[in-house]
Amino acid sequence: MATEERRRERLDRGIKVRTEGIYAISTWQEMAYLLVPRLVLILGILMLPLVIPSLYWQRVISIVCIYALLSLGFDFLAHFVGLVSLGGAFFIGVGGYLAAILSTSLGLPPALTIPIATLVGGAICTFLLLPCLPLRGIYFAIVTLMYPLVLAKIIEALDILGGTDGIAGVASFQSRWVEQYFIIVMVIISLFGLRRLVNEDVGLVFRGVKDNDQAVRASGISITLYKSIAVYIASALGCLGGAYLVHLYMWAGISLFALDFSILPIAATVIGGGGTLVGPLVGSFILVPISELLRAFGTLRIVFYALILMAFIVFGSEGIMVYAQRKYHQFERWVKV
């Protein structure tokens, strides 16, 4: 007796294939197919502070954006270069402390401290991580997990940079709207910039480093150079978030090296869908507000997102955006085998 076997077949939608090359676009429908998802995202984020009137939740949006920058960096490093960094707090801390020092001791305004902290902070992080770049996999993860802890302990032990009290009196932004929209625009620019980057030639090399670094090496390309470029990009994003955070709170302290900055971006990436770059953003917009709502429960919220993270990892979930993109681009049908 022959049993009828079926399997589900996934096919790209015709419109996806037609719109892949920009020159082939000829109808409004095809343009809309490309533009609508992007516009929904951009306008959605831009409108958010206008729709939400409460000051508290606007502040939460700023925090979400900081985490979004970190998660973007994490996703980029992990899924496009193959370096899993568990040390988001390290980037935040370096950028934050740098901005705080520039602001308090040199009296620079945020318009200068943030760019300087981003560029120089990224360079400092890359320089400090340079010796670990030959490491891969679990070793790189462990070493990056240790970096923020070491810096926090050293600041505590040597009592430098304000010790446990931190640096107070950091300048704030001119207005609430500058404060709000600066970071939102930065997130959007970073997102689309990174998306563009990973499809350029450089992005191809990055993926080569991830998939088969020996082949890249055999092609006469320096792995360490490309890894350090990637780490520079990711750490500059983190430093930007850190510098912004310091100006937002007008204070820098050891809490910049807190565990949250390392764990939450990973959770956001896993939930949002790794390797999509949009996913981490979506993940942060889901996780951070939830963890704000749970603030009253204290450390229980760490338990909460640790459990979510574990569930997503263990059940091998693909993440929200991977799922959404698949549904958008492909249709499924049952075929007889």
Binding site: V84, P134, R136, A141, F297, I302, V303, M310, V314
Partner: protein
């Protein structure tokens, strides 16, 4: 906050030698479970520190709420910790086996859930202490040492000896060792990889619990110890070479003495910095550790 290490200034060389030895053996005890699990199943068990702390609280609970005998409480809680470890593998880690990063993230998430859950549940402060096994102290070469610290040394030696005997003369121990040496060959000989991993996790958890039971009477049970023990365990294992036992014991001595010497001559805050720097320096200079020779090729570009 630091309660295991004797964090006072040492003025004599004998002090450094004696307390350095004790500290090193304490470190070895903390790390043995971690290195055992990694060595056998290639599982980086980041929940190690959480298991350490939870054993302390279970023993405390048995003694103070159920009023059990101290010895009985220890035996029972070690068994429970072993079961927790086995459960962690059986229900969580088994699904991500082989994906190193997922293993780290999943086990670290478990650790966070346990530790932060305990903190949320109010298990913090100075109220949680375990009684020492034996009161009093002795003088060794003119250095006062309390008996509990001597017991630490004794148990450390016994555990290492037991592990050696277990893995050389017991069937399960030999199977574990086979697994550690070559997983595929072991599987061909009919050794079940998952069953061995469950046993390894249970054994590793019991070792974490044993370290807790022996070391916690020297201070308070605090949640932060979970993170500290994890870092010390990772430090020892990485310096010694992940999965190498001899390396782990030697590395425990290197880090242990380095810690005591920095505490003696520089400052007590550097207790933790030494361990962290040891990890970073070893990974940079020699990622496979002092004794983990075979992995050098596959992990380093």
């Amino acid at each position: 906050m630091d309660n295991e290490g004797p964090l006072k200034r040492f003025n004599k060389k004998v002090d450094i030698i004696i307390y350095g030895t004790i500290n090193s053996i304490a470190l070895a005890l903390m790390a043995l479970g971690f290195t055992l699990v990694y060595g056998i199943s290639r599982l980086p068990n980041f929940a190690h520190g959480a298991l350490y702390v939870i054993t302390g609280f279970i023993v405390w609970g048995f003694i103070n709420t159920l009023g059990l005998n101290y010895f009985l409480a220890i035996i029972l809680s070690l068994a429970i910790t072993g079961l927790i470890g086995a459960a962690i593998y059986q229900f969580v880690l088994i699904r991500v086996r082989g994906m190193a990063i997922s293993e780290i993230i999943a086990s670290y998430a478990i650790a966070l859930a346990i530790l932060e859950g305990l903190r949320w549940g109010g298990f913090k402060g100075m109220t949680y202490t375990l009684p020492v096994f034996m009161e009093g102290g002795v003088e060794i070469f003119g250095v006062p040492v309390d008996l509990q610290r001597l017991i630490v040394v004794g148990i450390g030696i016994v555990v290492v000896a037991f592990l050696w005997l277990f893995t050389h003369y017991n069937k399960i121990g030999l199977a574990l060792r086979g697994m550690a040496q070559d997983e595929r060959a072991a599987m061909m000989l009919g050794i079940d990889s998952d069953r061995m991993a469950v046993i390894a996790m249970a054994l590793g958890s019991v070792l974490a619990g044993l370290a807790a039971v022996v070391l916690l009477p020297l201070g308070n049970i605090v949640v932060e110890a979970g993170y500290r023990v994890l870092i010390f365990a990772i430090a020892v294992c990485i310096v010694g070479g992940l999965g190498s036992w001899v390396g782990a014991v030697l590395a425990a001595f290197i880090i242990g003495f380095a810690q005591i010497i920095t505490v003696a001559y520089i400052e007590s805050h550097f207790h933790m910095v030494v361990a962290l720097l040891a990890i970073i320096i070893t990974l940079i200079l020699r990622p496979s550790g002092l004794f983990g020779r075979q992995k050098e090729l596959e992990e380093r570009v």
